[in-house]
């Protein structure tokens, strides 16, 4: 009876599997189309775009990329890269130290600090953005990358993540280190930190990506063209190139801005998924 039932379901299952793959391929193509379209456009000339005769470029034309490399674009790229790297380094250090202290060290006020941080995380960025701008201006940091760094270092989400990570960490090793007379800092740096490498990597990726893709903050803090971040510069350049319908240059700029994150993603693929596991579990 059951054997017959199983057999009779097989063709149905095959069709279902066919359908599922079809759905995935369809959505995959849908995802890919805008990017391919952008890439193809970046290889065309302005004339080709205006005539709009064929989807494919007539010849492999790298003029748009050449023009971008010769413009302020490379400065913006450098700005974004250096700010993102500095923030990542500072932020990972600060968040990890804080997360460790909140998870593992005993002191009066630990619960209160943790609860206050969780309260602050709920305030939307819109509330703090204007007063933070005024403070940055008062400190004489308007139009500097320091302003971007200082306001981006703290990531309460990451502190929370690291706290959860350290709470599940085996205690015996730290206790042994303490008995051997290690100070808390030595224990942290030489014993705890090396074992936390995967968590540090996930944190670093998402912080870097956040700074690299940020748009609103540079828009508020940075005003001179030489100090622009890449996203902001892309927007400013697009406004200018749109007038001459130079979509090839705008698309080339967009593609170039995606490349570093894409490389990071491909190299550190497994960490991306891990972080999402943890976020899904903790929130």
């Amino acid at each position: 009876m059951s054997v017959v039932a199983l057999r009779s379901r097989r063709p149905g299952q095959r069709w279902a599997s066919f359908g599922l793959h079809g759905f995935l391929i369809f959505y995959g193509l849908l995802t890919l189309t805008p990017f391919v379209w952008a890439l193809l456009t970046s290889l065309k000339t302005v004339r080709e775009i205006a005539v709009a005769e064929s989807v494919l470029p007539v010849a492999l034309n790298l003029d748009a990329y050449r023009q971008i490399l010769g413009s302020e674009f490379s400065t913006w790229f450098y700005n974004s890269m250096s700010v993102a790297l500095i923030v990542t380094l500072a932020s990972v250090s600060a968040n990890t130290l804080a997360g460790y202290a909140l998870a593992r060290m005993r002191f009066v006020g630990r619960g209160a600090v943790f609860r206050s941080l969780l309260l602050i995380i709920m305030v939307p960025a819109q509330v703090t953005m204007i007063p933070a701008f005024l403070i940055v201006a008062r400190l004489g940091l308007a139009d500097t990358h320091t302003a971007l760094v200082l306001t981006s270092v703290v990531s309460i989400g990451s502190i929370f993540l690291m706290r959860q990570f350290f709470i599940n960490f085996p205690t015996e090793i730290e206790e042994a280190a303490k008995l051997d007379g290690c100070t808390p800092l030595v224990t942290f740096l030489w014993i705890v930190l090396p074992m936390a490498a995967p968590a540090l990597a996930t944190q670093a990726i998402f912080i870097f990506m956040g700074v690299w893709n940020e748009f609103m903050k540079p828009l508020l803090y940075i005003s001179s063209i030489d100090n622009y971040m890449l996203t902001q510069g892309l927007n400013a350049a697009a406004k200018q190139y749109e007038k001459s319908a130079a979509w090839n240059i705008i698309m080339a700029g967009s593609i170039v801005s995606i490349v570093p994150i894409l490389i990071l993603y491909i190299v550190l693929n497994k960490y991306f998924i891990t972080l999402n596991d943890q976020t899904a579990g903790s929130k």
Binding site: Q126, I135, V153, V154, Q232
Partner: protein, 316 residues
């Protein structure tokens, strides 16, 4: 006897020594802990806590950009907001945005996750490919979408060629916001898909197997097992989606060149806050008031959602 006294004294001595050492250690622990927390707490105080308090104060003031001149305005800011048609336009747009984007991205992300959780070839490849829009910055994504929906763009041309209608997506007030909504769904769906996928990995396999033995089809299995089992994660996804939609700024700013046009059709809450703060004079307090109002709306919406989910749980 003597020896016994000595031991007792020794133990007493030892235990005080141990206690003293322990308290020294806990003191050292506490100061180390505060040192570990110091950079974070300092920055939180200056750039988060301070600003929140300042925003609350400023929302009751009439204030210019530098914050030099301010005078008490009481609830006049709120009154002004309620009388401003731009405020209501932002409300309308944001509400439409939430009602369209949140359900669509949640359902789509869940469907994709369920499919990817099954027996699928090239699973890793598909996940990598689908994740691409989430990696892309909002600025680059908006550029690409503007070019897709431009008068010469791929989508516009396609519709023109196959349906014979010309839609000016970016300059038509009826179409500008839907394009941004679509872009939002496009770029946040993969992120939530991964969140669902991680959640699905924790659903016990034997639930599916039991139901399969009972002769239930794949769709039924997902509807009766995956969907209820994923309820907490769905709650997370809907909440985060809601918060994200209420705060949408980048795409609307870039697409409209910063003014929320055409005809205020892409004016969002955050864009309006930006305007009051930096584009019009003496309205800094108004901007802060609007930010406070936005916070209250978000808190109300999420707690309403929480209540809804809880009551649902009781009924089931």
């Amino acid at each position: 006897m003597n020896a016994g006294m000595k031991t007792a004294a020794n133990t007493a001595l030892n235990s005080t020594a141990v206690r003293a050492a322990a308290s020294a250690r806990s003191n050292r622990d506490a100061s180390a802990a505060w040192a570990f927390l110091a950079p974070t707490l300092l920055l939180v105080a200056v750039f988060m806590l301070g600003p929140v308090l300042f925003a609350l104060f400023a929302s009751t003031q009439k204030m210019d950009l530098i914050g030099g001149h301010s005078q008490w305005a009481g609830t006049k800011n709120l009154q002004y907001l309620l009388d401003d048609h731009k405020f209501w336009a932002a409300c309308r747009n944001t509400l439409r945005y939430v009602l369209f984007v949140v359900p669509l991205q949640t359902v789509l992300a869940l469907a994709l996750a369920c499919v990817l959780n099954g027996r699928v070839k090239f699973k890793r490849g598909f996940v990598t490919l689908l994740f691409l829009p989430t990696l892309t910055s909002s600025a680059a994504m908006t550029m690409i979408f503007m070019w897709l929906f431009n008068n010469n763009g791929l989508v516009t041309q396609f519709i023109q060629a196959h349906f014979g209608i010309t839609i000016r997506f970016l300059s038509d007030p009826a179409w500008a916001l839907p394009v941004i909504m679509l872009m939002n769904v496009f770029s946040t769906t993969p992120h939530f898909m991964i969140v669902f996928l991680a959640g699905l990995q924790n659903v016990p396999r034997n639930l599916y197997e039991a139901m399969e033995l009972d002769g239930a089809g794949a769709l039924a299995r997902h509807w009766f097992i995956s969907v209820p089992q994923l309820a907490p994660i769905t709650f997370y996804v809907v909440t985060m989606g809601l918060i994200g939609c209420f705060q949408v700024f980048d795409q609307a700013f870039i697409m409209s060149g910063g003014d929320g046009g055409p005809e205020d059709s892409t004016l969002t809450f955050t864009l309006l806050i930006y305007h009051f703060a930096f584009k019009t004079y003496n309205t800094m307090g108004l901007a802060c008031m609007l930010a406070v109002v936005l916070t209250i709306i978000i808190v109300c919406a999420t707690s309403l959602l929480n209540r809804l989910v809880k009551s649902e749980g009781h009924n089931a």
